[in-house]
Symmetry: C2
Subunit: 313 residues, 2 copies
């Protein structure tokens, strides 16, 4: 029986999945291995392949592979054009040849935010919508856009994916990309965790007393009435809302899908963001709808499966 | 002999043009009347029609009309969906019926930045390029994008046109659109002129001594070594560069065309912007080219002529 394998190459973990070859998407197994991104792309891919093979049902074979990863991906040549911080040696790595040698099958690959949006639009929260923007709020901030039913790509495969590097403060902190004040440098969770302990109110705040810097602790402290936490929470919501408004102004979507680790706190965050965006986005036709990803942990896997099926059929 | 009439409805003036009906574009007359935007769209259009008729060569007739104007334009229904400050009563005005009654001909209309980009891409600086972003730096800040040879429009005709309302500082000044810190609210020339006299260094600066607040005076003061002017110039260049980087990150163009009143100082401004954008934009494929509009005052006229020809043939 044919299966399609899927990989989501994240900075910390590589998520893996096996799908039935035939539509509709059926995820029959999923797992995860550490990313080992410091040890190079080849070791990471080989470890992922080994894990996939170990979990392939007896009598099955892998008939195709989909890979989603951060960075700018040339989907025609299956090359990574540029990446920020993670998997640096993956740039110009020949993924197609590796895939044929390893699995004797074809490969489809894409930027992970594109893949997440393709997965959600085909099998999740975006089903039935033709104009969608996606934002993943996590360590980094990833974005993608579907306009008139098609993923926006751009002539160098960059369009739609750079929303985390829209400048939200020209005099803001230095970003890992080299620019200043990118949304990611102001509001990515890695930056939040670095920023909080440097602030004067932190040590006396509830978060400081607990030695915590994560979004969950921030929200708990807010709900306990901690003034420091409320101020920081308000700042973050303004930044996320600005990022979402910029996506709306750039791509004119009817639906915004939010995903990523920070959305584990969606019940608190979503109403805050909706209220700000609905108040300030310039959308004379009505209000953009909001949705949280249906498969927050698997949408990239669903997406690269779908990409493979669409490219190869 | 058939002519196509063109109108560029600006906040201060309405620019007018008459083109030969047949390709290639030949602008045989151009003129301008005050916008009278406070007196309503109907009076403004009627005054424009009168001026066009008065300048129509003997024996000619107007076979088509193109209108470019600020705001969000539904190009299929020829309606203005939303506008900011200028021509407020033009929203939902029936331009097509007015055009048929006035000129007994069909109408094509579009957002003015879209029209400027269409004009420049067909008859000017963008000729031969398939991926272009345009930014007009003037009283307001307008933007438009061509991707893979086609104007980006979006499902509600907003995509590409809102670059002046990308948030460049979530805690910035209130914008005329109701949001805070839009690029236009930080760096539009109307805002610059309001801002400069409020700054503590202004009265003692060369600009303050001359009682001036315009970009030309700012640049002259910079070149005379005025520290206040240099600080403000640097701030503006950072803001414009951030706005251009956001356009590049949103639409993945190969060429950026700059236009608008502020670009009358292009010899000073362009090298500054290029240097900043080339340093900070994330474009691993190479460097975005820059061009100044070939027809800075007529590109909207050329654009609506072209739009009419493309829609009606």
């Amino acid at each position: 029986m044919g299966k399609i394998a899927a990989m989501d190459l994240g900075g910390t973990n590589i998520k893996l999945g096996l799908f039935e070859e035939e539509y509709p998407a059926q995820l029959i197994w999923q797992g995860s291995i550490p990313a080992l991104s410091q040890e190079g792309i080849l070791r990471a891919l080989n470890a992922a392949a080994e894990e996939l093979r170990a979990n392939l049902p007896v009598g099955s074979e892998i008939r195709g592979l989909g890979i989603g990863m951060p960075g700018i991906v040339d989907i025609r040549r299956n090359r990574l054009c540029s990446v920020n911080a993670k998997f640096a040696d993956a740039v110009s790595f020949d993924f197609s040849t590796w895939c044929r040698r390893t699995f004797s099958c074809e490969l489809a690959m894409d930027n992970d935010a594109n893949a997440a949006l393709l997965g959600e639009s085909t099998w999740g929260a975006g089903s039935g919508w033709r104009n969608i923007a996606l934002m993943t709020l996590g360590t980094g901030i990833g974005t993608a856009a579907i306009m008139d039913g098609r993923l926006l790509r751009g002539t160098h495969y960059q369009a739609g994916n750079m929303g985390g590097h829209f400048v939200a403060d020209p005099w803001g902190p230095l970003c890992t990309c080299g620019n200043r004040g990118c949304l990611e440098s102001l509001a990515g969770s890695r930056e939040i965790e670095k920023r909080l302990p440097t602030l004067s109110g932190y040590t006396k705040s509830r978060m400081g007393r607990d030695g915590r810097t994560d979004m969950k602790a921030l929200i708990e402290a807010c709900q306990a009435g901690d003034a420091f936490a409320n101020r920081e929470f308000d700042r973050l919501m303004s930044l996320y809302a600005a990022g979402i408004i910029n996506l709306i102004h750039a791509y004119d979507p009817e639906l915004v899908i939010l995903s990523g680790g920070i959305m584990q706190s969606a019940p608190v965050i979503l109403p805050e963001l909706q209220a700000r965006v609905w108040k300030y986005a310039w959308t004379p036709w009505g209000q953009v709808e909001f949705a949280v990803a249906t498969h927050p942990n698997e949408s990239v896997l669903y997406g690269v499966y779908t990409l493979f099926k669409e490219q190869k059929i």
